[in-house]
Symmetry: C2
Subunit: 648 residues, 2 copies
C-alpha cells in the first residue's frame, strides 16, 4: 500500500517536471500506517468535526497528501487531479493549499508553520472538549515534520508551549532522513533533537520509519502518552530510487525517466503511470472508511446533545445571538461618555463586552498582558490542568502565538485574538501572511503603535510597520482614532470570517472625537469625521492617534476662515473596497494632506504623489512622547502650515 | 561595587519616571564580576579591535549598560548623561542604541536579537583569528540574556548553530529570575532550559547570581570550555527593593520614591541620588583599565605584524584595492556577451569576481545554496574545526542567519552576505530591521522573487514582500533587470557601508538589455533604459524581471507609431535620493504605467494615484511561470494596452 504513495509521487512529479518526490517516498510507510490504522477519519466527510487532524508540516512533500486523499477515495482528488499536479487550477498545487480540498487542514510550505499551527489545533481540541465534553470532542492532531521544521525558530516556541500545556494528543512524526537541500544535515544540524524535546517536556521515541510494526507500536504508544509526542522516524529520502535515494538529489526535482523507472522496478511495481491496481486501491478506500461507524455514532450523540445547536454554531464560525445588542448598548454609552483613554484601553473595554457575549473568543498575549490590555476581568487563563479558561499566556513567543492562533481558527469553534507590540508584528509576520492567504479569522491586538509610546525608543517604535501590514493582501489593518472607532473596528474584526485583522492601538490617551454610535462608520474604511464649515479648501486625511491632531489643525484653520474637512481612515483596505463615488465624496477634490505618525510609504494613493504628508521620515527616538511629536514635526501647527501651503 | 549599579539604575529610572530597574538590580552582581575580573577591555579605547564583546541581550535593562560605561569612566557617559536617561538626544536611550556610545556593541531591545547576534560576533572572531592569527584576534563574546531571549525562536536557531560550530568563546549569562511581565515565568515557561542547551551541544552550569565567588568560579570555568557556555544565574529581580523585589512590579516601571529609598536603605547606601562615592568610583575606573597593558602589548604586536595594513583595512570596513578593476572587466565582458540567464545566476557570476577579490566577504544560505547561487567555486565552507572557509551553511534558520550576519558586520573584518527565498524575508525581518536601524553592511541575496518561480505556488511567491522591504528606512532593496544591472547592484551593495541591502533576484532567465558597462547606471536608482524614438507619449516604469516585458511592449508601441520610453528602476531608495530635476528627467511628463510582478502598494509615488499599474492583485498561484504571467495579465500586450489607454 505504501508503494502506491511512492509511485504516485514519482509519476506526478515526473509529469509536472517539478516537485519533491523524495519526502513522499521516504515517509510513505509512516503515512500508510498512520492513515490505515490510526488516523480517525471518514473519507466520506473530510470535515467531520471530531476527525483527527493531519498536518503535513513538510508541505513540499505535497504529493504525500494528495496521494493519501486520492487513495482513500476522497471526492475532488481523482487521478485526473493528480495528473494535473502543480498545474493552474489543480487542487494538487505545489504545496498543500487550504481551501483547495476539504481534506487539507491548512496551507503548508513555509517551514515551521505546520508543526506550530498544529499546537493551536491541539489547544483548540482541549478547549472545545472542556466546553462541550469528550463525547463530542475527542480527537488527535498528527503532524509529519521535516528537519527544516525543527530548525525553524517558530517550532521551538510552539513546542515549548505545547509541552507547557501538556498537549498529549499532539503527535509529531519527524522525517529524520539526514538530508536537507545543502546535503547531509550534519553540515549545519548536529544537535540532539530528541533530547531537546525531552527538555521541553515531550515524550520521545526513535524508530525505523520503514518498519510497519515498529511504526504501529510507536503510534500506539503515542496514543497513551501524557505528554506531547515526537517520534523520530529514520527514513531514506527517495526510498527505492537506486541512485538518488538517501541524497539531496531526490529532494526537490523529478527523478528523471530512467531513475523513476528503476525506482518502480525496485519496488516490483509493474503498472502504467498513475495506475493503481484495484486491489490496492480497494484496501486504501476501505481504510479511509474504517471510522464510518465511529462517525455515525458521533452523529447520534450530537443529535441528542443538549449543546448541539451551540456546538454547531461555534464550529460553523457563526456568532451567537445577542452580542450585537449588548455591543450596541456599549457603543451608545461610549458616545455619551466620550472617554479620553488610550485606544488599547478602549480595546479592553470593548473586550469586556465582547468576550462574555461571544464564548468562542479566546484571548492572549505574548507576555504583555498588562500593556496590550487583552484580558478581561473574570476570564481565567487556561493551564495544563484546565482548559476551561479563555486566555492564553503565550510567553515571549510572538511567532508561535500567531501560528497557534491560526491553528485554533482553522480547528473551528474558537475565535483567537491576542496581543503584542505593533513593532513586533515583524516577529509573527510569516504566520500572519499565512492567515491572510488561508482567509481565516485571527485577530491581532498590536499596541504601542507609534512614537507615541515614547521612551522605549526606535527599536520599539513602528514607523514602517503599518505600511508593511497594509501591503499584505486580505489582511485588514485597523488604526482607530478614539474609543468609539476602536469599538467599531473590533465589531468588524469579529464579524470578519474570511481573513485576519490587526488592531493598531495607542499607548497614549486619545480624546473622544465622535458622539454618533448609530452607524458603524469605520465599516467603510474612511469617512469625514469633521466636515468643513463651507466648501472645502483642503482635506486632511489621518488615522488613529493623529486624527485628533488633524481636527485641532482644522479648527485653527477654520478660525482663520479656511474651511477644511478631516477624514478619519481607520482601515485602508475597507476604504479601497468602496465604490469610486463614495471614495471621491469622502476625499473631495480639494488639495489633500496626509497625517500619520509613520512613514509616507503607501500614502500617495490617497493624497497623490504631490500631496503633503506630515509624519515620520525615518526611525524614531527615545524620549517622552510629548517631546517626540514636536521633535518629528507632527503637530497641529505643522498640519495647518501644510494645508496653507497646499492651497496657496 | 555592584550596589553602585543598582542605585544608578534606581535613580535614573526614578528621574525618567520610566524604564526597567528590576533587571540591572538583579544582574548587578554578575555584571560586576564579569566587568571587573573577566571582560577584556580598556575604557580608554572602547573600540579596541581585540576587546571582548559584551552584549546586553536583555536590552530593556539598559541602565545596567550605562551604569557600567559610566562607572568604568568611559568618555561620553558622564553622570549628566545618566541623569538624562531616556531623554531626547541622550546616549542613555531607553534601549542601548548602537552609535550612541562606542561601548555599545549593538542595539538591543527586541528580544532574542542580542544572543543571536552574539553568535555572529563569535563566528567573526573565529574567522578573523583564522585569517590573522591568534596574536591579533583572541577575544570572547559575553552575553547577558533574559527569559524572553530564550523563549524567542531566533535564539533557538542561533544557539543550535553556535553549538554546531563549537563556538566555545561564547558565554551566555542567563538572568534566571523566574519573572516576566505576565508574572511568574511558570505561567508559560516550564521547560528545562539547560537540558535544552545541552541537547544543542552547549556546556551548562547553574549558579547563585548574587554570590560573587560562585559567579567568578563559573566564569573561569567558562573560559576553559570547548563548547559554547550558558550559565543560569539565579537572581532576584529588583534585588534589595523590599516590596517589589522578586516580582514583576520591579520589571518595567520606576520603583516610586518610597520603595526606591527603602531599596537604598536595604543596601546601606546613604548617598545623594546619582552620587557615587569616590572610593567606589575609583575602584570601578581602575577595573575598567585592568587590560590597558594587554592592549599596549597588542598594539605593539599589531605594529610589527606582517598583515597589519590588511588587518586595519578589514577592521575599518574599507574595501581592498584592485577589486574595482577586476569587476569593471567583468562588467565589460557581460556587456559584450549579453548572457540570457536568471538574475540569481548573474549574482553568482558577480560573486565569482567579488569574493576572490574581497577577502572579507563571507557568504552563506539558509539551506538553499543551489537555489540562491550564493556560493562560488573554490570557496570552502567553515566548519567546527576550520574557520578559514568563507561560506556558512546556516541551516533552515533564516532569522538566526540574519542575526549572525549582523553580528559579523558589527564585529568588523567581515562583510556577510547570504541567501534565502525572497518570500522568507518575513522570517528574518526583525534582524533586517535592526541592521537598517544600526546602519550596518549586511547583504541579503533573496531569490525566487515573484510568480516567476512558478509551481511552488502562493506560499513561495512574494507579492507584498518588495513593498514591505521598501518600507524599511535605510534598507536598499535592489531588483535588477539583467546580468549587467545585477553586477551594478552588487557593486553598490558592497560599497554601501552604512546600511543593509537586499538583492531580489529571479529564478527564471532574463534577456540582456544593455551593452553599456561604463557608468553604473543603477547607482542613481532608476534610469531610462530605452528612450522613445521621438517625444514620449508615455513612460513605462518597471523593475527586475518585468523590464524586458516592458521593453517588448515599447517596441510594439513604437511599431504603431507611439513613442514610449522605458525606465528601469532597480532601487527605489536610491532614485528617491536624486534631485528632483533628475527624477523628472527620467520619469518625464507623459502618462506613466508601472509594471512589476508584485502588488501596486507604494507604486503611486512613481506613477501617480491615477497611473495604470500592471502587476499582481493578490496572492499568486501554483503553475508553471510561463502560464502564470498571462494568467495574472502581466504581458507585453497588457502593458501596451495600458499605455494606449493612458494616452487616449
Amino acid at each position: 500500500m505504501a508503494d502506491a504513495i511512492r509511485v504516485l509521487a514519482i509519476d506526478a512529479v515526473e509529469k509536472a517536471k517539478s516537485g519533491h518526490p523524495g519526502m513522499p517516498m521516504g515517509m510513505a510507510d509512516v503515512a500508510t500506517v498512520l492513515w490505515t490504522r490510526f488516523l480517525k477519519m471518514d473519507a466520506d466527510d473530510p470535515r467531520w468535526a471530531d476527525r483527527d487532524r493531519f498536518i503535513l508540516s513538510a508541505g513540499h512533500g505535497s504529493m504525500l497528501m494528495y496521494a493519501l486523499l486520492h487513495l482513500t477515495g476522497q471526492a475532488g482528488m481523482g487521478i485526473e487531479e493528480i495528473k494535473r499536479f502543480r498545474q493552474l487550477h489543480s487542487p494538487a498545487a505545489g504545496h498543500p493549499e487550504y481551501g483547495e480540498h476539504p481534506g487539507i487542514e491548512m496551507t503548508t510550505g513555509p517551514l515551521g508553520q505546520g508543526i506550530s499551527t498544529a499546537v493551536g489545533f491541539a489547544m483548540a481540541e482541549r478547549m472545545m472538549a472542556a466546553r462541550f465534553g469528550k463525547s463530542l470532542v475527542d480527537h488527535r492532531t498528527w503532524v509529519i515534520a521535516s528537519d527544516g521544521d525543527l530548525q525553524e525558530g517558530i517550532s521551538h516556541e510552539a513546542s515549548s508551549l505545547a509541552a507547557h500545556l501538556k498537549l498529549n494528543k499532539l503527535c509529531v512524526l519527524w522525517d529524520d532522513n539526514h538530508i536537507s537541500i545543502d546535503g547531509d544535515t550534519a553540515v549545519s544540524f548536529t544537535e540532539d533533537v530528541l533530547a531537546r524535546y525531552r527538555a521541553y517536556g515531550w515524550a520521545t521515541r526513535r524508530i525505523n520509519g520503514h518498519d510497519h510494526e515498529e511504526i504501529a507500536s510507536a503510534l500506539s504508544w503515542a496514543q497513551k502518552s501524557r505528554k506531547p509526542v515526537i517520534i523520530a522516524c529514520r527514513t531514506i529520502i527517495g526510498f527505492s530510487a537506486p541512485k538518488k535515494a538517501g541524497t539531496a538529489a531526490s529532494h526537490g526535482a523529478a527523478l528523471g525517466p530512467d531513475e523513476a523507472s528503476a525506482a518502480k522496478s525496485a519496488l516490483g511495481w509493474n503498472h502504467a503511470p498513475f495506475e493503481i491496481p484495484e486491489g490496492i486501491k480497494g484496501e486504501w478506500e476501505a481504510a479511509g472508511r474504517r471510522d464510518a461507524g465511529t462517525r455515525r455514532s458521533w452523529l447520534k450523540r450530537l443529535a441528542k446533545h443538549p449543546q448541539r445547536d451551540e456546538f454547531e454554531r461555534a464550529v460553523a464560525g457563526r456568532l451567537p445571538e445577542g452580542w450585537q445588542e449588548s455591543f450596541a448598548a456599549y457603543k451608545a454609552k461610549v458616545a455619551e461618555d466620550k472617554p479620553k483613554i488610550a485606544s488599547r484601553i478602549a480595546s479592553q473595554r470593548a473586550l469586556e463586552v465582547l468576550v462574555p457575549a461571544i464564548p468562542e473568543m479566546v484571548g492572549g498575549s505574548a507576555d504583555l498582558t498588562g500593556s496590550n490590555n487583552t484580558n478581561v476581568k473574570g476570564i481565567p487563563s487556561i493551564n495544563p490542568d484546565n482548559f476551561a479558561g479563555r486566555y492564553v499566556h503565550y510567553g515571549i513567543r510572538e511567532h508561535g502565538m500567531a501560528a497557534a492562533m491560526n491553528g485554533m481558527a482553522l480547528h473551528g469553534g474558537v475565535i483567537p485574538y491576542s496581543g503584542t507590540f505593533l513593532v513586533f508584528a515583524d516577529y509573527l509576520r510569516p504566520s500572519l501572511r499565512l492567515a491572510a492567504l488561508m482567509g481565516i479569522r485571527a485577530i491581532h491586538v498590536l499596541t504601542h503603535d507609534s512614537i507615541g509610546l515614547g521612551e522605549d525608543g526606535p527599536t520599539h517604535q513602528p514607523v514602517e510597520t503599518l505600511a508593511s501590514l497594509r501591503a499584505i493582501p486580505n489582511l485588514c489593518t485597523f488604526r482607530p482614532a478614539d474609543t468609539l472607532e476602536t469599538a467599531e473596528c473590533w465589531e468588524i474584526a469579529v464579524r470578519r470570517q474570511d481573513g485576519p485583522s490587526v488592531l493598531a492601538l495607542s499607548r497614549q490617551n486619545l480624546p473622544a472625537l465622535r458622539d454618533d454610535a448609530g452607524e458603524n462608520r469605520s465599516a467603510r474604511g474612511g469617512y469625514v469625521i469633521r466636515e468643513a464649515s463651507a466648501e472645502r479648501k483642503a482635506t486632511i486625511i489621518a488615522t488613529g492617534s493623529e486624527v485628533h491632531i488633524a481636527v485641532a489643525a482644522a479648527e485653527t484653520l477654520e478660525a482663520e476662515g479656511i474651511p477644511v474637512a478631516v477624514v478619519s481612515m481607520p482601515c485602508w483596505e475597507l476604504f479601497a473596497l468602496q465604490d469610486v463615488q463614495h471614495q471621491q465624496a469622502v476625499l473631495g477634490t480639494a488639495p489633500r494632506v496626509g497625517v500619520e505618525a509613520a512613514l509616507r510609504f503607501g500614502w500617495d494613493r490617497w493624497i497623490g504623489a504631490d500631496g503633503i504628508f506630515i509624519g515620520m521620515q525615518g526611525f524614531g527616538a527615545s524620549a517622552p512622547a510629548e517631546q517626540l511629536y514636536p521633535h518629528f514635526g507632527i503637530t497641529a501647527d505643522a498640519i495647518a502650515a501644510a494645508v496653507r501651503k497646499s492651497i496657496s
